[in-house]
Assembly symmetry: D2
Homo-oligomer: 432 residues x 4
């Protein structure tokens, strides 16, 4: 029996569904994937992988958008009650939930695959036409939901590990699996990319399911992925009684309103840049000059260069707006992702492998349509900087025409098995 047949036979659709539905019931948002990550670490260790987790795999200072300590603690406690493995959870305390797993299968190239684990803060639909509700695997964690498919990503990651461990003798090289926290808000990948885990990697790839792409379609290289950056800008002014002596205050809201208008008035660089002020929270009382304003914004660029260009303009507007009202400005990065350039050589390998799988019907080598963002791009850049090759794959998974990040989001579970097959075949092909 050849390796391709072995791979195909080794994949268990039941496993995939069971695992995915388990993860779906216990969604954990970014940085608090304690249950998910500790279960993954346990299973991978049991399959013979060497496990790295906690601070050993993440550069602490490069984590972005960490929840406060109360939230970290609450989620940690709940994860424990919901079956998290305390053995691994200890090292994850405080939001160190990445898991790296390595398997040496002989001398040869080092190949990394990335899977994301985090859920979102959305209340899941409870109507019967929502499959997870109908099939009884709806979220048990009030207010949180896997509505971006990361439950599926994690499940295929585990199944890939199993298949790899079973076809180990056919591989010549090292397999590294990365289970990443906090992809939502593009907060979690950077700290892994600045750590050491990827230092020796020659190839890296990852995929994302897309509910907007037709089932059975695949884009081998998602080259339209945009660079993006997320920031919170805090204006620190000074309060004053608005009726009696407003001139003694430093009006943070006026500063933020001026910034908001001018940020949106920035040029679009012919459609290559965009910016959004998504939230503004300012003021303490109706009769007080607002002493503080928190402005949450994001920038986007068709490539990283454009994203940086628009950021620079944005920072200048923020700083001058603050000074205009004698306010101090504090800008905190809350997330970041690069634009993508997939390696043409891997694109060809992916194309070939997907053509061999009896599932994919529409195979697009490279596409620039999708204007989403992904912080896996940080890992791609890291590997490319070391002369490695990187690719980001899009998997069509439409089932009910519901968008990502909506309470009715779902994906077609049948995409999981062929995706597992694809990932393993790519590795085999590279190691040939």
């Amino acid at each position: 029996m050849d390796v391709n047949q072995k791979i195909h036979n080794s994949i268990s659709k039941e496993n995939l569904i069971t695992t995915r539905r388990d993860f779906h019931q216990y969604p954990e948002p970014g940085w608090v994937e304690f249950r998910t990550a500790s279960i993954i670490a346990t299973k991978l260790r049991d399959l013979g992988f060497t496990i790295q987790t906690g601070k050993s795999i993440m550069e602490e200072k490069d984590r972005m958008g960490i929840p406060n300590s109360e939230e970290l603690s609450t989620h940690w406690q709940r994860a424990l009650l919901q079956g998290g493995n305390p053995e691994f959870m200890e090292a994850m305390k405080g939001g160190f939930t990445a898991v790296g797993a390595s398997l040496y299968c002989g001398d040869g190239p080092i190949i990394a695959m990335r899977f994301d684990m985090d859920a979102l803060e959305i209340e899941e639909a409870s109507e019967d036409n929502h499959l997870p509700s109908q099939k009884k695997f709806r979220s048990k964690n009030k207010r949180f939901m896997h509505c971006c498919g990361h439950d599926g990503h994690s499940a295929i990651g585990l199944e890939i590990a199993k298949v790899i461990s079973e076809i180990k003798e056919h591989l010549k090289g090292t397999i590294k699996l990365i289970f990443q926290p906090a992809e939502e808000g593009v907060r979690g990948a950077k700290c892994i990319s600045t750590g050491k885990f990827l230092d020796d990697v020659d190839y890296i790839y990852a995929c994302h399911f897309w509910s907007q792409m037709p089932l059975k379609s695949i884009v081998c290289g998602m080259n339209g992925t945009m660079a993006t950056s997320k920031f919170d800008a805090i204006f620190h002014g000074a309060p004053a009684h608005a009726g009696i002596e407003p001139e003694k205050g430093n009006n943070a809201l006026l500063a933020a309103a001026t910034a908001t208008l001018n940020l949106h008035a920035l040029p679009s660089f012919k459609g290559n840049c965009s910016l959004n002020v998504g939230k503004l929270i300012s003021g303490t009382g109706r009769n007080i000059v607002p002493p503080k304003a928190i402005l949450s914004f994001e920038t986007r660029g068709t490539n990283t260069k454009y994203d940086i260009l628009i950021q620079e303009r944005a920072f200048q507007i923020l700083h001058t707006s603050a000074t205009m009202q004698n306010c101090q400005l504090e800008v905190t990065p809350m997330g970041s992702a690069k634009s993508v350039e997939c390696n043409p050589e891997i694109i060809q390998i992916i194309k070939k492998c997907s053509e061999e799988i009896d599932f994919f019907e529409t195979i697009t080598p490279s596409d620039k349509e999708n204007r989403g963002s992904e912080d896996f791009t940080f890992m791609m850049e890291k590997v490319k900087a070391n002369k490695g090759k990187a690719c980001f794959i899009g998997i069509g998974a439409n089932i009910n025409n519901q968008g990502h990040h909506t309470r009715q989001f779902d994906f077609a579970e049948e995409v999981m098995a062929p995706t597992v097959e694809l990932f393993v075949k790519i590795a085999v092909e590279i190691m040939k």
Copy 2:
């Protein structure tokens, strides 16, 4: 013994202090003065007054800035536990906490006095140099504090009732006492003024303690009191994904930012008008076009005419800003007070009475310096509209140079007895 001597002897300083300190320990914010009001109603009834409370004394539609039903319920439950009288509390449910008390003492003029009862949402100082803390009558209600002296106002109201009931035979006319909720934010007086309780009143007066005015000083007619109005303006827009199709959104934050700048750019009418946008809350997510913005603002005028002028300009700015971004605008009045013109005849009576009291050293007939606001002015206007006479008195009460609405606010308790004496003497003088 003449009536003045009787009044003087009848006043109990101990009572005043005990009552004030009791109220101080159980501060209740506007519209939820369930404990305070029900205790007051009970005591007044026991003194022989006819009591009106709940909807019978308040025009429901003219109440402003009512807390939500959850808060109303929470405070009601706590009041019950803290000694509120359920007999009266039933009618007060839902925020109907005004108390009116009438005592017929023979044919003659109908004289009304107003006392306010509400506290603020401020955590009281716990340092030993803060008298309520040192003397162990600090607030027992976390987050709430009597830091404007209304505990004292309510205590003198009760003592006045007692004295009046004891010198009843010297009076020719009817005494009406009003214990008002929600003076803070100028929310509570209007609904009483549009009810029937004041319909037959010939004279009305009230006072406020001022920590900024020196002890033993009195301003008989506080004519500097400014008109003010409080509003919440809600911009209803539409969300859109900021990266993919921002043009489909209706950006409520851009509308609110434009409004904020233009509201502050309104002319000051030579210092007669002012406006403050005190709070702005907008947006749902960093990458979503903000679908909603809540802008809280207030206007002020040296008189009601100016307050209305600036409001009209403000509304125009708000409406056009909303339309500019295809947003719907909803403006809700959250409070209101008029400017004051005290009746010169009562001013003279107050001046005469305060001169006769062995306490007041600095007696100012009329003053325009204080630019605060008071919704007692609604009651004054109501009485004046019926050809009655009205006055608002300022009582110097400085003890520690701390401003109103601060966590260290306090007033000199020794002002309570002379204020009781003054209020009763004014009534006696009018009824002569």
Copy 3:
């Protein structure tokens, strides 16, 4: 001798250069091309064409951005002194400078060609490295300059007329030549397109020289041409003494400043729309509330639909900004052009003809790179609405790497002859 040979031999490079340099010395801006147009009309009449000019060929109400009567008169007088033909100039008074010329050459298709005549208000370079200066044909009209190549366009139009008249017997159909005023600012084409001259036209084409395109290159169908619209928005407010009673004024400048910021803050529809406020003139005196503001802006869209979308948003901002400050708004269209979709069939003919001419080396059938604007598009739409076919051609004419609308602009005169040849060959090809 076949017709192609005849055409080639008939063209006089000397004529072209002489005519072009004559026009170059007497530049006339939009709507006052009295000398240019009357000389053209005279020559065309002498070649046997039937001439239409003045109101007979232009819909008066659809002219945009007409100079004031003083300017119209000044330019008319100068044109007379500089050799304009009063015979034709009379009908052109007041800015009716279009010239239409028709030549019946037998039954067959009616083919129209458009040439523009107007110059710009720019002072021409006088340095010796500027060819017109060195060769002594620099502008004699102070402040005005042919810095967009329309002098060349007009010269080739006249040469085409001559060639046509000479090969008339080879043609089966009618040739219509249009010499258009006021292409700069996209002001002049619309009024011709709404007139009757194009009612019966089956084919129409025109070209523009581009100094940014390499010499010997040609784009047969300039499909990147953007739609654009030009407007003046006047805010009519009311003055007031800024020190004494600013509140009595209606501040047109505040309205215009608010509009400016919000216009620039409009979304770019993913790069498909843009907007520029190019000028703002407001106010009368430093101490007066500005009673008036004139805001000049333009919109652009990658197609006409986008141009209209952004306009609608712009109008809403302008109207609401005006109302915000109690101003009246007056918006005047000052120019307009559509996006272009060239007819694929003519593109093929142009491609074939240009391949046959011994000059063009780089022949691009269709191109979307150039994001300029052209009001010839109005004529294209008119012809297409009548089931006719239309195309807009780009001719590479780089000589000194200077941009259009600069004082050093120039084009390579050697492009004129092959362009004449191309235009005539296209007609011959169509009439085959």
Copy 4:
């Protein structure tokens, strides 16, 4: 005959009217009062005064808002034709039109009086109900008009000189007369105050006619006069083609629009400050990112301290707005005046003297109502800084209820004689 009688008899009403009407016919705006000033210098010299003019009496660097050299030259030429004295005009070239005249009348105090000479750029009314038109002394200088009464001020200044020279023997001290240019726009006084002419002055006073004050009324000390400052702020950005690469421009108009909104949004310091952006001129072409914006504004304060406070806030807004758009900012002072505190001792003298004159019926010692501005205040401060005494007088001169700076402005000529009398009597009184 006592001195008062002599003064009274010495005054010629005919002279006053003749001189005033002559000046009225030849109005000259600020810094180009060549005819007026040279005639005045000639007459004063002929009366025996020592004359200083040109740079000897003005600190060149402290002149503000000077016209350009073309305008300076045009006005100089016209002045020559209209009877200006070239003997004095030479030194005045370039806008040095102040005239100082001194007369030593024995040892004693040095008393200075100020008169302003400049007209405004307004076209005078030509209707018959406008007295200067009816009586044939309407402005002969198109576009310019004496519509603030400075023609009258200059006429009384000359008559005072004559009377002084006739009663010289009654005076013990030195009389200094200052004829000031460019009072309009508060541009001319500062440079005289920083020169040496006032160094030794013990007393200084001046007056202004007010068409809004009833005839026969006088305010001895105009203490309501506000401080004011005038500035031009130029934003230097960079142009760019708005359609092709707007991101390359530095948008001066966006900077100026942001500044305009934020300048108007500054607090009013309880009505003590105000600010007006009176003019904004920006942009070159509709399709060009505006490379420049000129913003003309003024600040006002109820006293100089407030004027400086609001200026500092304004500068900060201007600088940060400029930096926000990568623009350079250039702020030029265009005028300035201080607030006034008149010396109480001179007020008493003026009161006494005006009571003795058979004309003034309503005599107000000090008044704060008038909120105009005057740069004579610079001279007052100079004299006060040297322990001298200063006062600014208001003379009621209403004749037709028309405001200053309107085309129908006029003043009652009958106020001139009593004003002359007053000024001389004050000097006599001081020198007693």
